[in-house]
């Protein structure tokens, strides 16, 4: 046999439809690029007119629209060329593929007959002749496909080389420049909206810099008013400045002054930790700088400025925008490279990172309608996200402010176990929901290393480290006296909020959602109650709330300390502390005499008010359901943040333990219960320590 069954490459029998679909998608993409080319050209033309250019709009439009040198149109052309190459191959595949499959089967049939049937000499010769004819036909078809493949490859290669020529990430590629006539471009250059010739030269020299010091020295040549725009237009330079969280530049007195104000920084815990007592000094030093000095500090040292508590919120946000851009571009480049035959696992990870950085802080409706200005210059546009912490190392650090900066009600939300940079967007979504309330802002906060697993979450250090970090962060927000601050902590985040409260954070209210503990009490060697004064001795008044859904096993963590307390009664406290040193998160928040327990209640329709009438919160996934919107639990959280209403927790006696201790049950366990009426938050008070109900609950919970 001259051609056996294995001689036809598999791809020739493959999926022509997929190739044609891809070609069609590339055609669509090319058309889209053409459309955007037109829009960009028109926008730039109208802008030039608006900026005082007196050219002829019609002529300019004709010239721009008819331009064949626009980089946009070249990209569209290359995409179209690739699409046509694939179309050619796909069409041939769709006609030849089925024929080849059929011929392949016929040859197999003949081979089988020759092997197993007695065809006789004449029959055998006829069969062999037929087989040879079929194989000849196969070879012809395959040769045509080979030719088409070669042509497709060549066209694709030409398109790829052309695109590679355009994609020069090191310098500004000139898409905009190529879309308009030179006199229009001059208007943009003269108005300072694009790089001047000098700045272009400077950018090219700066790309050759090998150290930050060299780069800083060159950037000093750029006027401070133009520095942001220059770096945006030359992102490779901007990205180089985002890597150092503790930059050293002996030639920069402004940086030296900032370090002097901040005092010793501790960078060992994955964050930039500063003595809380220095935070006001940092803020004060920052305010004392000139706007151009602040611009340079943000641009030169964005990782430090974006993550240093005490730097005012809009300035942190402006600095962190450099970090987010750099992370997104790095992920994009990584994905692009790995798509070219890289390790699939690394590719999947890079794609996840790209999706993350793209979805984190998307521009859009931020709840802020006016830009933030400094020295007459916009430093944070109204639609720009306000990222207040950003670090992609390890599990990551992140914080984002949603809503107006001047909102009367400000909430900071601390998530629970397992949350990292890859999952913080869930919290972001919650905060975006929260800030639909009037005059309200919400901050998603991942400013500490959260435990990765439930067993790990038992370690006290997570509450301690996180609590100290949260105190510093909220202190650094610099809120005005008429702004209230509510700290919301979920699960392990509840322990963190409680710890920050215990060490004197200046919260107005706290809401512990299914918290790991109250941070106070045995065996933590912490006080049994929250202090009246703030960490710096100033007066504070904190109203504390908590809610845990019935059936949530977090009660085992919350009440583990009760068992230790009982050991204490037996004179065995030392043993309890010794055995469980470093574990636990303090007393049960549900029964602490400084915390108001509220009712998780039921789910609602989206526009329904309390008390809700749907399924009881906790019937499904009780631990996380307490955070879900459209429920009594959510309304409670909103009520605490906005100074509204909550549902007080109610229980009823359903029996007794040892004929002495009453056993209580939550009223919402009864499906017929009509619902508790909401009460203004200022009208509810803690119930105090109730040992009987507490033990009764413990027994009931453990039994269930």
């Amino acid at each position: 046999m001259s051609t056996d069954s294995g001689s036809t490459p598999g791809w020739m029998l493959g999926n022509a439809e997929a190739v044609l679909d891809t070609a069609a998608a590339l055609h669509t993409l090319a058309a889209l690029v053409d459309t955007e080319d037109d829009r960009v050209t028109t926008s730039m033309g109208s802008t030039a007119l608006a900026l005082g250019w007196h050219g002829d709009l019609v002529d300019r439009g004709d010239q721009a629209a008819g331009s064949v040198s626009s980089l946009f149109s070249r990209v569209a052309g290359d995409l179209r060329a690739a699409a046509e190459a694939l179309t050619g191959l796909g069409e041939l595949l769709s006609s030849h593929g089925p024929q080849l499959t059929s011929l392949h089967q016929q040859v197999l049939d003949i081979a089988t007959a020759l092997l197993w049937s007695d065809l006789g000499t004449a029959g055998q010769q006829d069969a062999e002749a037929a087989r040879d004819d079929l194989n000849q036909h196969r070879r012809l078809l395959a040769a045509e496909l080979d030719d088409a493949d070669r042509t497709c490859r060549d066209l694709l290669q030409s398109a790829t080389v052309a695109l590679q020529d355009l994609a020069r990430p090191q310098v500004a590629t000139g898409f905009l420049r190529s879309s308009v006539p030179s006199e229009v471009w001059s208007v943009f250059r003269d108005r300072g909206l694009v790089d001047s010739d000098l700045e272009q030269s400077l950018a090219e020299v700066a790309l050759a810099c090998t150290t930050s010091a060299e780069l800083w020295a060159l950037l000093a040549e750029v006027d401070a008013d133009r520095l942001d725009g220059f770096l945006r237009r030359n992102p490779t330079l901007a990205h180089r400045l985002t890597l150092d969280y503790h930059p050293q530049n002996p030639d920069d007195p402004a940086l030296a002054g900032l370090y002097a104000a901040a005092g010793p920084l501790d960078l060992t815990g994955g964050s930039i930790a500063v003595d809380p007592a220095r935070i006001a000094d940092i803020a004060s030093y920052w305010q004392g700088l000139r706007p151009d000095e602040r611009t340079r500090l943000r641009a030169y040292y964005p990782a430090l400025i974006g993550n240093l508590d005490g730097i005012p919120v809009p300035h942190r946000a402006a600095a962190n925008s450099w970090l987010v851009d750099a992370a997104r571009d790095q992920a994009e480049a990584e994905v692009a490279q790995l798509l070219d035959g890289g390790d699939p696992r690394r590719l999947a990870a890079a794609q996840e990172r790209l999706a993350l950085f793209t979805q984190l802080s998307p521009p859009g409706d931020t709840g802020r309608t006016v830009p933030v200005l400094d020295g007459g210059r916009v430093i944070l546009p109204a639609g720009a996200p306000a990222v207040l912490a950003f670090d992609t190392r390890a599990d990551g650090r992140f914080a984002q402010w949603h809503g107006p900066f001047g909102a009367s009600n400000v909430a900071v939300y601390v998530p629970g176990t397992g949350t990292d940079l890859g999952s913080i967007s869930t919290v972001d979504a919650l905060m975006r929901r929260l800030v639909t309330e009037p005059d309200t802002a919400g901050i998603s906060w991942l400013g500490t290393d959260l435990p990765d697993t439930v067993p790990a979450a038992a370690w006290t250090r997570y509450s301690e480290d996180g609590g100290e970090s949260l105190l510093r962060f909220t202190e650094g927000l610099g809120l005005a006296d008429d702004q209230s601050l509510t700290a919301i902590g979920y699960s392990a985040g509840g322990g963190i909020v409680a710890w920050a409260d215990m060490i004197g954070a200046k919260f107005d209210r706290t809401m512990l959602l299914a918290p790991s503990g109250a941070a106070v009490g045995l065996p933590l060697n912490t006080p049994g109650s929250y202090p009246v004064a703030a960490w710096d001795g100033s007066a504070r008044e904190v109203q504390r709330f908590t809610q845990t859904a019935p059936g949530d096993l977090i009660v085992l963590a919350q009440r583990s300390n009760d068992a230790r307390a009982l050991l204490g009664f037996g004179g065995l406290t030392g043993i309890g502390v010794g055995l469980f040193g470093g574990l636990g998160h303090g007393s049960d928040p549900n029964t602490h005499d400084q915390i108001i327990r509220v009712e998780t209640g039921r789910f609602c329709e989206p526009d329904e008010q309390q008390p809700c009438g749907g399924t009881r919160v906790g019937e499904v996934n009780p631990h996380s359901a307490v955070t879900w919107p459209d429920s009594d639990a959510w309304h409670n959280t909103v009520g605490v943040v906005t100074g509204g209403t909550v549902l007080p927790y109610r229980s009823q006696v359903i029996g007794d333990l040892f004929w002495i201790i009453p056993v209580h049950e939550n009223v919402y366990v009864n499906d017929a219960y009509p619902g508790t009426n909401p009460v203004p938050i200022e009208a509810v008070t803690p119930t105090g320590v109730l040992w009987g109900p507490m033990l009764g609950h413990l027994v009931k919970d453990l039994a269930s």
Binding site: P9, G10, W11, G14, A18, V19, A25, L26, V33, E36, R39, V40, T42, S43, M44, S46, T47, L49, A50, L51, G52, L71, F72, V75, L86, D149, R150, C152, R153, L156, Q157, T160, L163, Q164, L166, A167, A172, T173, F175, L176, L193, V194, G229, R232, R233, P235, D329, E332, V335, A336, Q337, D340, T358, P363, P371, L373, G376, R377, V378, P381
Partner: protein, 98 residues
């Protein structure tokens, strides 16, 4: 004062409208980056000459579109900043004059 004078003759509304158009354009181009997906064809076309080019083509196309998107977005931001600054200066004058 010289800085404010440089704004004389600017049509703020037209500039703001152009800034919005550029932002939309940037969004479309950004979304387009993710739609360049040819590399997956390398599996069904494995063994062909074309297959070896699908990855590099996709890389180049994505980076190119990203560059374009960035340029458009940056100019849109610059125009937004310009309009904000002009509005500020106009508002400042109005307050002084009244």
């Amino acid at each position: 004062m010289g800085w404010i004078m440089s704004f004389v003759g600017i049509d703020i509304e037209a500039t703001a409208q152009a800034a919005r158009a550029l932002r939309e354009s940037s969004q479309v181009l950004g979304d387009a980056v993710g739609t360049v997906t040819t590399a997956w064809l390398a599996t069904p076309l494995a063994g062909s000459l074309t297959a070896s080019l699908l990855g590099p083509f996709q890389v180049a196309a994505r980076l190119c579109l990203r560059d374009a998107q960035r340029e458009v977005a940056t100019l849109g931001d610059e125009l937004s900043t310009l309009t904000a600054n002009v509005r500020l200066s106009v508002g400042h004058h109005a307050r002084v004059m009244t």
